[in-house]
Protein backbone atom coordinates (compact mmCIF):
# COMPACT_ATOMS: atom_id res chain seq x y z
CA UNK A 1 0.00 0.00 0.00
CA UNK A 2 1.09 3.53 -0.69
CA UNK A 3 1.48 6.35 1.76
CA UNK A 4 2.19 9.94 0.85
CA UNK A 5 3.32 13.02 2.75
CA UNK A 6 2.91 16.55 1.55
CA UNK A 7 5.32 18.37 3.77
CA UNK A 8 3.65 21.78 3.77
CA UNK A 9 -0.04 22.33 4.38
CA UNK A 10 0.13 26.00 3.34
CA UNK A 11 2.60 27.86 1.14
CA UNK A 12 2.34 31.63 0.69
CA UNK A 13 4.42 33.09 -2.11
CA UNK A 14 4.64 36.43 -3.87
CA UNK A 15 3.53 36.76 -7.45
CA UNK A 16 6.30 36.02 -9.99
CA UNK A 17 8.39 34.23 -7.36
CA UNK A 18 9.33 30.54 -7.78
CA UNK A 19 7.60 27.86 -5.74
CA UNK A 20 8.22 24.25 -4.79
CA UNK A 21 5.54 22.02 -3.27
CA UNK A 22 7.04 18.94 -1.68
CA UNK A 23 5.77 15.38 -1.85
CA UNK A 24 7.30 12.20 -0.47
CA UNK A 25 5.81 8.79 -0.91
CA UNK A 26 6.49 5.43 0.63
CA UNK A 27 6.36 2.34 -1.48
CA UNK A 28 8.25 -0.88 -1.96
CA UNK A 29 6.92 -1.34 -5.47
CA UNK A 30 6.99 0.66 -8.66
CA UNK A 31 4.59 3.54 -8.74
CA UNK A 32 2.96 5.98 -11.01
CA UNK A 33 2.83 9.53 -9.67
CA UNK A 34 0.28 12.27 -10.21
CA UNK A 35 -0.24 15.87 -9.17
CA UNK A 36 -3.73 17.33 -9.15
CA UNK A 37 -4.92 20.92 -8.65
CA UNK A 38 -8.21 21.97 -7.10
CA UNK A 39 -9.53 25.50 -7.58
CA UNK A 40 -12.16 26.77 -5.12
CA UNK A 41 -15.51 24.98 -5.39
CA UNK A 42 -14.30 22.70 -8.14
CA UNK A 43 -13.22 19.10 -8.55
CA UNK A 44 -9.64 17.97 -9.05
CA UNK A 45 -7.87 18.56 -12.34
CA UNK A 46 -4.84 16.57 -13.49
CA UNK A 47 -1.74 18.78 -13.50
CA UNK A 48 0.89 16.25 -14.57
CA UNK A 49 1.88 12.60 -14.29
CA UNK A 50 4.97 10.44 -14.15
CA UNK A 51 4.61 6.97 -15.64
CA UNK A 52 8.15 6.10 -16.81
CA UNK A 53 11.09 7.53 -18.73
CA UNK A 54 12.43 11.02 -18.13
CA UNK A 55 12.35 11.95 -14.48
CA UNK A 56 11.44 15.57 -15.25
CA UNK A 57 7.80 15.84 -16.16
CA UNK A 58 6.11 18.92 -17.54
CA UNK A 59 2.46 19.66 -16.98
CA UNK A 60 -0.14 22.30 -17.63
CA UNK A 61 0.09 25.95 -16.58
CA UNK A 62 3.90 25.93 -16.54
CA UNK A 63 4.27 23.42 -13.70
CA UNK A 64 6.85 20.64 -13.68
CA UNK A 65 7.82 17.88 -11.28
CA UNK A 66 10.88 15.73 -10.79
CA UNK A 67 10.72 12.06 -9.87
CA UNK A 68 13.53 11.05 -7.53
CA UNK A 69 13.46 7.33 -6.93
CA UNK A 70 16.25 7.23 -4.35
CA UNK A 71 14.56 9.87 -2.21
CA UNK A 72 11.04 8.68 -3.06
CA UNK A 73 10.04 12.23 -3.83
CA UNK A 74 8.00 13.93 -6.51
CA UNK A 75 8.23 17.66 -5.84
CA UNK A 76 6.21 20.13 -7.88
CA UNK A 77 7.79 23.37 -9.10
CA UNK A 78 6.99 26.48 -11.01
CA UNK A 79 9.61 29.15 -11.78
CA UNK A 80 7.22 32.11 -11.64
CA UNK A 81 3.76 31.92 -10.09
CA UNK A 82 0.68 33.88 -11.05
CA UNK A 83 -2.31 34.96 -8.99
CA UNK A 84 -4.39 32.37 -10.84
CA UNK A 85 -2.21 29.57 -9.39
CA UNK A 86 -3.85 30.09 -6.01
CA UNK A 87 -5.38 26.68 -5.35
CA UNK A 88 -4.90 23.46 -3.43
CA UNK A 89 -2.48 20.89 -4.83
CA UNK A 90 -2.57 17.16 -4.22
CA UNK A 91 0.15 14.60 -4.78
CA UNK A 92 -1.08 11.06 -5.51
CA UNK A 93 1.01 7.92 -6.00
CA UNK A 94 -0.46 4.73 -7.41
CA UNK A 95 0.87 1.21 -7.59
CA UNK A 96 1.77 0.09 -11.08
CA UNK A 97 0.83 -3.56 -10.68
CA UNK A 98 -2.14 -5.23 -12.31
CA UNK A 99 -5.32 -4.57 -10.40
CA UNK A 100 -3.97 -1.37 -8.87
CA UNK A 101 -7.02 0.85 -9.05
CA UNK A 102 -6.56 3.26 -6.21
CA UNK A 103 -4.79 6.55 -5.91
CA UNK A 104 -3.52 7.51 -2.49
CA UNK A 105 -3.93 11.24 -1.95
CA UNK A 106 -1.81 13.47 0.22
CA UNK A 107 -3.59 15.90 2.53
CA UNK A 108 -2.96 18.73 0.11
CA UNK A 109 -0.93 21.94 0.01
CA UNK A 110 -2.72 25.26 -0.22
CA UNK A 111 -0.78 27.65 -2.40
CA UNK A 112 -1.59 31.32 -1.84
CA UNK A 113 -0.09 33.76 -4.31
CA UNK A 114 0.27 37.25 -2.89
CA UNK A 115 0.05 40.22 -5.27
Amino acid sequence: AQSVTQLDSQVPVFEEAPVELRCNYSSSVSVYLFWYVQYPNQGLQLLLKYLSGSTLVKGINGFEAEFNKSQTSFHLRKPSVHISDTAEYFCAPKGSGAGSYQLTFGKGTKLSVIP
Partner: protein, 113 residues
Amino acid sequence: DVKVTQSSRYLVKRTGEKVFLECVQDMDHENMFWYRQDPGLGLRLIYFSYDVKMKEKGDIPEGYSVSREKKERFSLILESASTNQTSMYLCASSGESSNQPQHFGDGTRLSIL
Protein backbone atom coordinates in the same frame (compact mmCIF):
# COMPACT_ATOMS: atom_id res chain seq x y z
CA ASP B 1 -12.27 15.50 -23.12
CA VAL B 2 -13.49 13.24 -20.36
CA LYS B 3 -16.58 14.51 -18.68
CA VAL B 4 -17.67 13.35 -15.25
CA THR B 5 -20.99 14.84 -14.23
CA GLN B 6 -22.34 14.88 -10.70
CA SER B 7 -26.06 15.45 -10.51
CA SER B 8 -26.02 18.22 -7.89
CA ARG B 9 -23.48 20.86 -6.90
CA TYR B 10 -25.23 21.60 -3.59
CA LEU B 11 -27.63 19.46 -1.61
CA VAL B 12 -29.31 19.92 1.78
CA LYS B 13 -30.95 16.97 3.49
CA ARG B 14 -32.23 16.09 6.96
CA THR B 15 -30.91 13.59 9.44
CA GLY B 16 -32.29 10.11 8.80
CA GLU B 17 -33.14 10.70 5.16
CA LYS B 18 -31.94 8.33 2.44
CA VAL B 19 -29.73 10.31 0.09
CA PHE B 20 -28.67 9.47 -3.45
CA LEU B 21 -25.68 11.07 -5.15
CA GLU B 22 -25.42 10.34 -8.86
CA CYS B 23 -22.38 10.35 -11.10
CA VAL B 24 -22.17 9.81 -14.86
CA GLN B 25 -19.08 9.56 -17.07
CA ASP B 26 -19.00 9.69 -20.85
CA MET B 27 -15.68 7.96 -21.62
CA ASP B 28 -16.64 4.30 -21.27
CA HIS B 29 -14.32 4.00 -18.27
CA GLU B 30 -14.21 0.73 -16.38
CA ASN B 31 -13.31 2.22 -13.00
CA MET B 32 -15.38 4.65 -10.97
CA PHE B 33 -14.76 6.06 -7.48
CA TRP B 34 -16.47 7.98 -4.71
CA TYR B 35 -14.46 10.14 -2.31
CA ARG B 36 -15.31 12.52 0.46
CA GLN B 37 -13.18 15.57 1.11
CA ASP B 38 -12.94 17.28 4.48
CA PRO B 39 -10.67 20.13 5.59
CA GLY B 40 -7.35 18.86 6.89
CA LEU B 41 -8.14 15.26 5.95
CA GLY B 42 -7.70 15.40 2.19
CA LEU B 43 -9.59 12.94 0.01
CA ARG B 44 -10.73 9.65 1.46
CA LEU B 45 -12.00 6.80 -0.68
CA ILE B 46 -15.46 5.55 0.20
CA TYR B 47 -16.11 2.93 -2.49
CA PHE B 48 -14.94 2.10 -5.96
CA SER B 49 -16.11 -0.09 -8.80
CA TYR B 50 -14.00 -1.73 -11.51
CA ASP B 51 -16.89 -3.13 -13.52
CA VAL B 52 -20.65 -3.11 -13.76
CA LYS B 53 -22.24 -4.59 -10.63
CA MET B 54 -18.81 -4.88 -8.99
CA LYS B 55 -17.87 -2.82 -5.96
CA GLU B 56 -15.06 -2.66 -3.46
CA LYS B 57 -14.91 -0.93 -0.11
CA GLY B 58 -12.49 1.92 0.24
CA ASP B 59 -11.10 3.38 3.43
CA ILE B 60 -14.34 4.71 4.95
CA PRO B 61 -17.36 2.71 3.69
CA GLU B 62 -19.37 2.78 6.91
CA GLY B 63 -22.75 4.44 6.50
CA TYR B 64 -22.58 4.31 2.69
CA SER B 65 -23.49 1.94 -0.10
CA VAL B 66 -23.09 2.14 -3.87
CA SER B 67 -24.79 0.93 -7.02
CA ARG B 68 -23.40 0.40 -10.49
CA GLU B 69 -26.07 -1.02 -12.77
CA LYS B 70 -24.70 0.58 -15.93
CA LYS B 71 -21.11 1.22 -16.91
CA GLU B 72 -21.49 4.97 -17.14
CA ARG B 73 -23.30 5.53 -13.84
CA PHE B 74 -22.11 5.12 -10.26
CA SER B 75 -24.42 6.06 -7.41
CA LEU B 76 -23.52 6.73 -3.79
CA ILE B 77 -26.24 6.09 -1.22
CA LEU B 78 -26.40 7.36 2.33
CA GLU B 79 -28.83 4.89 3.89
CA SER B 80 -29.72 7.09 6.85
CA ALA B 81 -27.97 10.44 6.67
CA SER B 82 -26.22 11.78 9.74
CA THR B 83 -24.69 15.17 10.46
CA ASN B 84 -21.16 13.72 10.35
CA GLN B 85 -21.73 12.96 6.68
CA THR B 86 -21.83 16.65 5.87
CA SER B 87 -18.97 16.96 3.40
CA MET B 88 -17.84 17.52 -0.17
CA TYR B 89 -18.32 14.36 -2.25
CA LEU B 90 -16.24 13.79 -5.35
CA CYS B 91 -16.79 11.22 -8.07
CA ALA B 92 -14.01 10.09 -10.42
CA SER B 93 -13.51 7.64 -13.26
CA SER B 94 -10.50 6.08 -14.97
CA GLY B 95 -9.66 3.68 -17.75
CA GLU B 96 -8.78 0.04 -17.18
CA SER B 97 -4.97 0.33 -17.29
CA SER B 98 -3.24 1.08 -14.01
CA ASN B 99 -1.36 3.99 -15.60
CA GLN B 100 -4.56 5.87 -16.39
CA PRO B 101 -5.25 9.00 -14.29
CA GLN B 102 -8.56 9.57 -12.57
CA HIS B 103 -10.88 12.25 -13.91
CA PHE B 104 -13.06 14.11 -11.44
CA GLY B 105 -16.46 15.70 -11.39
CA ASP B 106 -17.04 19.13 -9.86
CA GLY B 107 -18.23 17.70 -6.57
CA THR B 108 -21.42 17.78 -4.52
CA ARG B 109 -21.40 19.79 -1.33
CA LEU B 110 -23.81 17.93 0.93
CA SER B 111 -25.18 19.39 4.15
CA ILE B 112 -27.10 17.21 6.59
CA LEU B 113 -29.19 19.19 9.05
